[in-house]
Symmetry: C2
Subunit: 268 residues, 2 copies
């Protein structure tokens, strides 16, 4: 089947939508550190993580001339439990969805196109299933450990409103584009930065070594979002471990949770 | 040479920046009509258009099963003077630039990296040179014919302010991304649409059959832009030929012209 033109059994378009994304690097290798002309090697593997859910893992290394162009295939235990400092780890969870009512992006529902076959994909051992972490984040309304407020120093918080822009936030099928959620979060992060009187230069030079986004709902263009940002730092008694950012994107009118984002940021 | 990591003779980064983009289609084939899963065939050719200027032409056709995957090479006369209705024509003009002062995006200046060789590129016959049209647009401060105000009906105009966003408008080297200029223009176009009390659905369903952007200056993040939109329609005595949109992007503080955009739009 062609995943980009998939249809439900009743002939409606079906989309393999993002449910979760994590981009994990290190102070040495992080997304904002990449630039034009960098050469990278990528290893990618997809796994069936339930009947209508696909987990895709990428490992990305900067090529420095000594490294071979191809990487060994992904080992799940090292991927999740023994990450290396010179590697960027990108984890995507995608689920099949369809519109519940034509013409609106609200209340997308799960569907598995009957042509979709996951039997020839590698099966994901249950201990690596993303399901539990998504469920518990939704329940706790944060991707950070729930003890964070007790264990750390609260640096500040800030909430902005943002209207979903029909001219730049939608993808080719009229849904809010998955990458736009990162723009929403980063726009609010910039406002938080300015509220704490930090210079723009330090925002541009920040290193985001871990960035997670959990998607719960899409939205129609024109929807007013409320995006709240809270920053935490571990107590001064501990070695500098950067700043943890907790971002919550909700529909300002209904209060519905659209997405959660957490970022581990080193500011310069 | 690697165009993405080019340096000037003094070792500073050099960028092959966009100076002009035109995307020309028809009511049948236009960018907003493309979606996930569409298969296209592309023919591309680059030409030397002066010592530090490159013109790149693309012809794009939707594959419908009967069409071969490859297109014949580009013929300049047909490209510019006999376009076909089933083809999308994308024209890029790029010029080598460098920062005049490190740390700012203002006043980029021309530079040709000495490693850059254009002798093995096809030379562009002078009659197709983009130079004159860029110069006359800059002088007239519009990409539309200067008689447009006389020959047509003015539908309305609207000006918005927009602050260049450090979190979403920059590219990997800290310059305002060329595609962000289209977002700036379209954000203002949406505001114009709303001012004329047109429904959001008609904005989303619009067909942009010609879209030109002429770049004159970059900008630092935090710069406040003034984006003005004026719409024209030919007199009712003529057959419906859509709407011509004239967009001007300036620095609100200094008045400097950053870019001109024109769009030929059919609203539904």
């Amino acid at each position: 089947m062609d995943v980009l033109t998939a249809r439900t059994d009743t002939g409606d378009p079906a989309y393999l939508a993002f449910a979760f994304i994590r981009i994990k690097g290190s102070p040495d290798v992080h997304t904002l550190g990449l630039t034009f002309g960098d050469r990278v090697a990528v290893a990618t593997q997809s796994f069936a993580a339930g009947p209508g859910t696909v987990l895709t893992l990428h490992q990305i290394k900067l090529l420095d001339g000594t490294l071979q162009d191809s990487l060994p295939s992904i080992d799940l235990d090292s991927y999740f439990h023994a990450p290396e400092l010179d590697t960027l780890y990108v984890e995507n969870v995608n689920r099949w969805v369809r519109r519940s009512v034509p013409g609106t992006n609200q209340e997308l529902c799960s569907v598995v196109p009957s042509q979709f076959r996951h039997h020839n994909m590698d099966r994901l051992p249950l201990r690596f299933s993303p399901r539990e972490k998504i469920k518990s984040a939704q329940k706790a309304r944060t991707l950070l450990p729930t003890r964070i407020a007790k264990d750390s120093v609260r640096l500040g918080s800030h909430t902005v409103s943002y209207t979903v822009d029909a001219s730049r936030d939608l993808n080719g099928v009229g849904l809010v584009y998955f990458a736009s959620y990162f723009s929403f979060a980063d726009t609010a992060l910039l406002a938080y930065w300015e509220k704490l009187s930090r210079p723009l230069e330090s925002f541009l030079a920040r290193r985001v070594i871990d960035n997670r986004m959990c998607y719960f709902s899409n939205a129609d263009p024109g929807t007013v979002l409320s995006i709240s940002v809270t920053g935490y730092r571990y107590p001064a008694s501990m070695p500098d471990d950067g700043e943890l950012i907790d971002i919550r994107i909700t529909d300002r009118h209904t209060g519905e949770l659209l997405a959660l984002n957490s970022q581990h940021v080193f500011a310069r």
